[in-house]
């Protein structure tokens, strides 16, 4: 019964039409800059109300009030244009661009909504910016592109992902990784080496509760929504894009001793290797540069062919790409091949489409971010400069510790052997497939059903070989570890939607059901005994009881998790001025205790388009002003997969057994975020200046937290639970302005800045110390907790420390630790500029992260006087030697002397805490677009050449290759971000 009633109501409303009293008809054609290629689908609006869509040939016809002077034209992928009505037929050329803040549509993954009707906080990242940057993992290209989004590379290994955090860190024990959605389905985060960003059409970052509400169950850490390129109506267009370039090592700010300095230092410390004067003299002159021996200038190649075209019924986009990027450490690099086809169809009341992408990548890596002696990236710092990679007398690797040791005199493994004789490969196959089907009910206008299903399949196969010649491999005559893992996730969303405008009302509503399930499996083996010369599986000698050293090890495992969600979305607009967005949902996750698997989330957003008010009509300088407010909750299920207590398999003396591996918690529940967001969007001076300001307050509640328990009860030191609150509050400002805009010259400036204040507001036990950081109420997460270093006592060379009462002491005590800054920059952003003139364009982007501190463990390991058997930081040359020496490097000995008490080397002091703020020229590009008049003769539609540089310049005080490191400490073995230069070419046919 109820169904019938709704039907009759909608039929009634449908008959009401929207009309102006007196209208005139304007026709025209929308084209690209060349004046010929049509832009189908461009929206023609008047005073913010969309009136018509350009057809396949770019033509349109609209009825507007008689006294109208201008109309607005907008299209995805182009800059908006305000067009003066001169006559009744117009020709409108749109310039390409993406950086629009107000009048665009927003893709939230499930639906597309006009931005001005949406209260959510959303940042739109320019897809061309991401497409052009030659990163093996596209998330690296997000840096500085959007306010509220902190992107830090932790590694320069080709294909390595970045660490992306949206609006601060909310979780202590749970995941802080944003959710990545591609074409409506979840894809694995931080695993993008096999995805080609050249296929991206749009990237939006959803930040507040309303924006992420559709992902409520997983959206607590923000959502990054990627839409791949859709086919465009029209004749088939072919594009070829290529880049070729090279990458280099950045400037090193952590300087080690040269041969003479090191030998002299050793002699002064007691000559541990017993060099004779003649040996010392000869070694002083060696000055071997380990950095040059292991680093290289890497070459990058990238090619992509893509095609798009179609009719109003069927459109397609297809692409093939190849990328080959050498790393700056020899042997390392990434090779990637991808293919994609996207097809969209509209037939009568049906719409359906399929997007398929397949990617294959091969990454050759080297160990990083560790403190192992055998890691080549540590060897470049630690190897003594008087040692060499190759013994010049034999031409073989130098093993000064003795034949067949793989080591140098000090016991430091020869880094060249570790790098060149070992290998570490990762092969990945990734398939992402999504499909949708949409049915528009013929008898009810605006009612449609949609189902969207997709899979993200990832298969990783790795091979790690340690040569029997290297120090690590000798004991078991080589080690080969092979692993195989696969991960399959499917996401299915089915909805019933309704969308209608009537009179002054606009309504859009949807009921959704969603299923997400993840299933992963892995296995592997490790074999030994490489005695026959082979370095693959053929080399393995199977062990036996008499030769247990060669018994191979096998592993395997797997896990699953799933989410089930029901939700409803209602968007309502009144008179183009007032909008409300409502979302309510219920989610269940397999990761929580039986009693708490389901939780409810919801959000509400309000938007007021101020400039639509009649009293604003007289204010001419303001083109648009919109105020937004939202509040809502969403959840984080980034916990371990199973909440029940479990036994893990162990074995003892060749017999299988069980030992408790997780205490479980049947009451574990969702970590929730409550976000309040206030936003202002404006554009003024004929849209020459536009911007967005957001204020937010994000509170994470029921934090995943390991509740400490006395180990004596169960052997476990903590139980996963939900306790505490963390607040992230901040302001985000995004501005874009055309400083100069004439027909032939344009200078655009844009920038974004974020201030995020992170505070622990409730915690089980205040001031919980973990190593060098502390979890304290009222302080940010990752706050450093160290004793202040106060230099050296000139009388005895002892290190001095500042006590809690500000007096100095020679006695280090952990009780004198105090709270310092945090490693998560509260201030960050990016500034970019673009100049276009006569077909040339020059753009640059500078990113910054400020007020950030980072413990330098790499420097600590070069400073520790115990490690003087290996090379050391040049600062050690200033070491205290005699009474009266004024220096800040204490004496190396730790015992008490006649002059002073014991002087044990202390690491947990501010001596190694450094300012890790930095400014970086992230990208600079000079390009030229050939004019249509020249290239059309060669039957070329468009042609562009450009040259770009990445990370050319960095300003920082941090003593390392690169201040761009994540976590609280630069552990060691840093693989720095590449300094790249590439030349590119894009041709369209």
């Amino acid at each position: 019964m109820r169904k019938l009633r709704i039907l009759s109501l909608t039929v009634l409303l449908f008959s009401v039409q929207l009309v102006w009293a007196q209208t005139k008809t304007v026709t025209g054609k929308v084209t690209e800059l060349n004046g010929t290629t049509p832009v189908p689908g461009a929206t023609i609006s008047f005073k913010g109300r969309a009136l018509a869509i350009a057809n396949v040939t770019g033509e349109f016809s609209v009825a507007i009030p008689v006294d109208a002077k201008t109309i607005q034209v907008s299209a995805i992928g182009y800059n908006d244009q305000e067009v003066n009505i001169t006559g009744s037929s117009l020709t409108i050329s749109l310039s390409p661009g993406e950086n629009k803040l107000i009048s665009e549509v927003v893709v939230t993954g499930y639906s597309t909504i006009q931005r001005k009707k949406f209260a959510g906080a959303i940042a739109n990242v320019s897809a061309p910016e991401i497409r052009k940057q030659p990163f093996g993992s596209f998330d690296q290209a997000l840096q500085g592109q959007a306010a509220g989004v902190s992107v830090l590379a932790n590694s320069g290994q080709p294909g390595a992902n970045a660490v992306v955090r949206i609006r601060g860190i909310g979780s202590i024990n749970g995941s802080n990784v944003p959710l990545y959605i591609m074409d409506g389905i979840e894809i694995s985060a931080a695993d993008f080496a096999s995805i080609n960003q050249g296929d991206f059409e749009r990237v939006e970052i959803l930040k507040d509760a309303v924006a992420t509400a559709m992902y409520g169950s997983r959206g607590a850490n923000g959502v990054i929504v990627i839409s791949t390129r859709k086919g465009r109506v029209g004749q088939i267009q072919l594009n070829y894009d290529a880049q070729i370039g090279f990458s280099k090592l950045p400037e090193d700010r952590l300087i080690v001793m040269n041969s003479k300095e090191k030998i002299d230092y050793e002699l002064q410390r007691g000559n541990p290797y017993g060099w004779t004067p003649a040996q010392a003299d000869s070694l002083r002159r060696v000055n071997f540069n380990w950095r040059d021996a292991l680093f290289q200038t890497g070459v990058t190649h990238q090619h992509q062919i893509s095609a798009t075209g179609g009719s109003t019924a069927t459109r397609f986009f297809a692409s093939l790409s190849y990328m080959n990027q050498d790393g700056i450490v020899k042997t390392t690099g990434l090779k990637r091949y991808t293919a994609r086809i996207n097809v969209d169809n509209t037939i009568k009341n049906w719409r359906f489409g399929v997007n398929l992408q397949g990617g294959y990548s091969k990454r050759i890596n080297t160990g990083e971010a560790n403190t192992f002696l055998s890691t080549p990236l540590n060897a470049i710092r630690w190897s003594n400069p008087y040692e060499r990679d190759i013994d010049p007398r034999t031409g073989d690797y130098q093993e000064t510790a003795g034949p067949n040791t793989g080591q140098l005199t000090s016991g430091q493994p020869n880094g060249a052997m570790e790098l060149f004789l070992n290998y570490n490969n990762n092969l990945q196959i990734k398939g992402i497939a999504t499909s949708y089907l949409e049915f528009h009910f013929p008898f009810v206008k605006g009612l449609y059903a949609r189902t969207n299903w997709g899979i993200d399949y990832t298969q990783n196969e790795a091979a790690g070989f340690t040569s029997p010649r290297t120090s690590v491999g000798i004991a078991r005559q080589g080690i080969l570890t092979r692993t195989f893992g696969r991960n399959l996730r499917y996401t299915g969303t089915t909805s019933l939607n309704f969308k209608r405008d009537f009179d002054k009302h606009e309504i859009e509503a949807g009921l959704y059901f969603e299923a997400v399930k993840n299933d992963s499996r892995n296995f592997g083996f490790t074999g030994y005994g490489f005695t026959n010369g082979f370095t693959n599986e053929t080399g393995i000698t199977a062990g036996s009881a008499t030769n247990p050293n060669y018994i191979p090890a096998v592993t395997g495992g797997g896990t699953q998790n799933g989410i089930q969600s029901y939700f409803a979305i209602i968007n309502y607009g009144y008179d183009n001025r007032y909008y409300i967005n409502l979302v309510g949902r219920r989610d269940g996750s397999s990761r929580f205790g039986f009693n708490n698997r389901y939780a409810n989330f919801g959000s509400v957003g309000l938007t007021w388009a101020v400039t639509q008010e009649s009293f604003m009509q007289s204010i001419n300088f303001l083109d648009d002003l919109k105020l937004r407010a939202s509040i809502g909750t969403n959840g984080n299920n980034g916990a371990a997969d199973y909440p029940i207590p479990i036994f893990g398999r162990v074995s003892y003396a060749g017999i299988s057994g069980w030992a408790p591996s997780s205490p479980g918690n049947l009451d574990l529940k969702w970590e929730t975020n409550r976000t309040i967001n206030l936003g202002i969007d404006f554009s003024m001076l004929k849209r020459r200046l536009s911007g967005t300001i957001e204020l937010y307050d994000r509170e994470t509640r029921n934090l995943f937290y390991g509740i400490p328990i006395d180990n004596s009860l169960s052997g476990f030191g903590s139980i996963d639970g939900n306790i505490g609150k963390v607040k992230n509050r901040g302001i985000e400002i995004m501005l874009r302005g055309d400083v100069i805009k004439t027909k032939s010259f344009r200078w655009e400036l844009s920038g974004n800045i974020t201030y995020n204040q992170n505070r622990v507001s409730q915690i089980l036990r205040d001031s919980t110390i973990t190593g060098i950081t502390i979890l304290a109420k009222g302080k940010p997460l990752n706050s450093f907790y160290l004793v202040e270093y106060a230099g050296v006592d000139p009388a005895n060379g002892n290190a001095k420390y500042v006590k809690r009462d500000k007096s100095t002491t020679l006695a280090f005590s952990a009780n004198d630790k105090v709270i310092w800054g945090t490693s998560d920059a509260p201030w960050y952003g990016g500034i970019s500029t673009l100049v276009e003139f006569m077909g040339f364009d020059l753009s640059a982007q500078v990113n910054f992260f400020l007020n950030r501190e980072l413990y330098n463990n790499d420097r600590n390991n070069l400073t520790n006087p115990t490690y003087f058997f290996d090379n050391m930081h040049v600062e050690i040359l200033k070491e205290w030697r005699n009474p009266g020496d004024i220096t800040d490097v204490p004496r190396p000995s730790s015992g008490a002397t006649a002059l002073g008490p014991a002087n044990a080397y202390q690491t947990q002091t501010t001596r190694f805490l450094e300012d890790a703020s930095f400014w970086r020229l992230r990208n600079i590009t000079l390009g030229y677009n050939f004019p249509a008049s020249i290239i059309s003769k060669a039957k070329i539609r468009s042609a562009r050449i450009f040259v770009q540089g990445q990370n050319w310049w960095t300003a920082t005080k941090y003593k390392s290759f690169d201040p761009e490191a994540t976590g609280t400490s630069l552990v060691g073995a840093q693989y720095p971000a590449l300094v790249q230069t590439t030349v590119g070419l894009s041709i369209g046919f």
């Binding site: 050293n549 896990t559 199973y642 162990v650 479980g664 006395d710 490690y867």
Partner: protein, 498 residues
């Protein structure tokens, strides 16, 4: 063509809609692990109870118990030697255990927390076994139950004893004021339970009760626990239980009981007359030697060596003090005419390294067993107990002392000693026999309570170590209760001085 395609796509979507129907709560939300055992309903058979007992043994293999990390761990393997005067820290050290070696530990020292937690992991397994074994015991499997229960009791006693050795300030048997730790007899997972430290007396009572149960139960079992023909003895059998009983009695100063328990152990595992090969074979798994219980490290499961000697690349973080042994082999406590010399040491690059646990057979990969209890120790316990009883018992003490030395030293001529000379000779012999087997720090703690590191300490050409003396009143004789434990359980009273 297109129409046919559309039809197939439609059929496909119909299929997907059906799938949508099947995406029920069972598939998405009510998931259970496929690669681990649900502990809510298991162990559910006697077989599984026995498998949990193996989990306890596996816990002994932890890097912080009898295993080792990279220059760390080995809490009851070689760390007590590192913390004493047996070893000195070399110039090659990576200083990963500096806080332990130089007695710099504080309440937040990571290794202290690991030494606290590792034995409780073992105890947790033993407690699960003891909780569930009776549920599955029938008259038919009573002897199997005895075998499982007996080992669980012995393991629980031993792990508690090991905790006691580090964390108790004093070892006095009957003190009701000195605090031991919590003696855990139930497996509990709850943040609300906060056990207090109990007195030494209660703690000793609990240990003796457990080990007595073990001795009784292990007398009547369904099958031999360690095959006599084997070259390994990976499980605690009745001889092992007596060994633990002897050890605890020695610390308790119950000399007669210590001697009796040692005798019982010796009767089950007499001291064999063994040559060099047979003695060294204990450590490289080629001979059973005089061991009573070894912690078994299978291929790929690492071993006890990496705290002191990095077997895979011959790096020595610690070396034997010159007072123990030298390259020349003619000075120090262990000289080259002693089977222990070449079983324990190798000269590598002209310097002596502790190669006792370098690997099995002739391999140097660090995969070796830890010999936790052996007959040699039983001789020394009995000798010390009898010497302390004094009087007529000194004869038996001297006999044991000479018997052991005869078995170890080529051309040994029995000595005649009495009184303090005898006691001091037995102490030296303990230092020799049990070198790098996890006893020295505790032996000093229960006897002289003074450490004076030898000539290597402070010699910058040999050692980076700066701290050479530990005095009787120093707080460092007991490890502090770790910060994390006190955060969870405020009833854990901190040791004096921390």
């Amino acid at each position: 063509m297109l129409k046919i395609l559309i039809r197939y796509i439609l059929i496909g979507f119909t299929g997907i809609s059906l799938l949508f129907q099947s995406c029920s709560k069972n598939d998405l939300v009510d998931l259970t692990p496929e690669f681990s055992l649900d502990a809510l309903t298991n162990p559910s058979s006697m077989k599984q109870v026995e498998e949990v007992l193996l989990g306890a043994y596996a816990g002994f293999r932890s890097a912080n118990y009898y295993g080792s990390g990279s220059g760390t761990g080995g809490g009851w393997a070689m760390m007590p030697d590192v913390m004493s005067d047996n070893l000195y820290e070399t110039l090659e050290t990576l200083a990963n255990s500096r806080a332990m070696a130089d007695w710099l530990y504080q309440t937040n020292t990571g290794q202290v927390a690991s030494f606290y937690s590792s034995p409780y992991v073992v105890i947790a397994n033993a407690n699960i076994v003891l909780r569930d074994v009776d549920k599955f015991t029938t008259p038919a499997n009573q002897l199997q139950a005895n075998r499982i229960k007996g080992q669980a009791f012995a393991i629980r006693a031993l792990a508690h004893f090991d905790l006691f050795r580090y964390f108790a300030v004093k070892y006095d048997r009957n003190s009701t004021t000195d605090l031991a730790l919590a003696y855990t007899k139930d497996f509990t997972v709850s943040p609300l339970v906060k056990p207090p430290r109990i007195s030494n007396k209660e703690y000793y009572d609990a240990m003796f009760a457990d080990i007595a149960q073990a001795v009784t139960l292990l007398a009547n079992v369904d099958k031999v626990i360690n095959p006599s023909a084997g070259i390994t003895r990976p499980f605690i059998d009745r001889a092992g239980a007596y060994g633990i009983q002897a050890r605890i009695n020695l610390y308790a100063g119950q000399w007669a009981e210590a001697a009796t328990a040692a005798t019982n152990a010796i009767n089950l595992r007499p001291l064999p007359a063994i040559n060099q090969t047979a003695f060294s074979g204990m450590y490289n798994q080629t001979s059973v030697g005089d061991m009573i219980w070894n912690v078994q490290f299978e291929s790929g499961q690492s071993g006890p060596t990496f705290l002191v000697f990095f077997a895979t690349n011959n790096r020595s973080y610690f070396r034997p003090a010159p007072e123990i042994a030298t390259v020349a082999g003619n000075t120090g406590l262990i000289q080259s005419n002693d089977v222990r010399y070449s079983a324990f040491f190798t000269s590598i690059g002209g310097r002596l390294a502790v190669t006792k646990y370098k690997g099995k057979g002739t391999v140097s990969d660090g995969n070796a067993n830890f010999i936790a209890i052996r007959t040699g120790e039983m001789y020394l316990i009995r000798a010390e107990a009898n010497a302390r009883i004094g009087g007529a018992n000194e004869v038996q003490a001297l006999a044991d002392y000479n018997a052991l030395r005869t078995a170890r030293i080529t051309g040994y001529v029995p000595e005649v000693l009495t009184g303090t000379a005898l006691l001091s000779a037995i102490a030296d012999e303990r230092r020799r026999e049990l070198f790098a087997e996890g006893h020295r720090f505790f032996d000093l703690k229960r006897t002289t309570r003074t450490i004076n590191r030898g000539i290597a300490c402070g010699n910058t050409a040999l050692s980076v170590s700066g701290d050479c003396t530990l005095n009787p009143t120093d707080r460092e004789w007991a490890l502090p209760i770790p910060e994390g434990v006190r955060n969870a359980n405020e009833n854990m009273v901190q040791n004096t001085g921390y």
